[in-house]
Subunit: 134 residues, 2 copies
DNA sequence: TGCGCTTTTGACAATCATTGTCATTATCGA
DNA sequence: TCGATAATGACAATGATTGTCAAAAGCGCA
């Protein structure tokens, strides 16, 4: 009956996942992160990694990206909403901010009576270096 | 050795897939479309549906959406770029136009020197009716 | 129009990320 | 410290998508 059920317990595994996320740059798949944890000697089950990431994604602590043709990629989310500009050749990622986009999305949703709104946006392109190579 | 190998042959199956797409509104999964084709008496393999959809997506004839937690959804692309407002409960879809978003994406990409830019955006929320039910 | 090369098809198997299960373990509040 | 309860993790299950390859169909050319 607890409305704000903060039943989030603080476990070693959860901290471990947070730690790797904090110490790595860029996006990584759940399986990647799992492998990193094993290399560090942490003993964390793959299932747990998945569930932890889901939880973190729910609370907005991490970003999730679903690139075409692949696994979900996770990344420590710098607080605040933002989007990504991704090079489709080398995978380089640039964070971009677009307050205008945020408010536009909200407005659109509002006009149609939608509530509890979220949105995803990704920009794909070829970065300067990759463009030069071809 | 043909550089522009337009080796696209015109088969019954391909037309059939195009036809269902043309005559249905909204998004449908590959499996959906396959089922519709069977109902019509068309004899098309599931594998072929997948491959045809991929091809159509490559040429930009159809939209692809990857909602969280599910299959890919395909839709005949109404010419012109647009985005979608999707109810995460009942799946209802509303098309929304946002020229501002388009140009913003282009500008952002340009500022970072990215070329050959495309982008995806989806807005998720709960539509008025579903919100009332809960 | 008929022939042959090449693409396409389609049934089935294989893949693989993600989720479900459930007994065991660890955490947190009292 | 103790007990209720959430979290863990090994494993199985799921299910969409892709690979395979022999058989069939399209298209260009004579």
């Amino acid at each position: 009956m607890n409305p704000e059920s903060n039943a989030q317990r603080n476990t070693k595994q959860r901290s471990a996942v947070r730690d790797v996320l904090a110490e790595t740059e860029g996006f990584h798949s759940a399986q990647d992160l799992h492998a990193m944890l094993r290399d560090r000697g942490e003993r964390v089950g793959l299932t747990t990694v998945y569930r932890t990431l889901q939880g973190l994604a729910d609370t907005g602590e991490v970003d999730v990206m679903r690139p075409p043709g692949g696994e979900h990629l996770y990344r420590r989310c710098s607080q605040g909403h933002h989007h990504h500009l991704v090079c489709r050749s080398c995978g380089r990622t640039v964070e971009v901010l677009g307050p205008a986009v945020e408010s536009w999305a909200e407005k659109m949703a509002g006009e149609h009576g939608f509530v509890d709104v979220s949105h995803t946006m990704e920009i794909f392109g070829t970065c300067p270096e990759c463009a030069q190579k071809s």
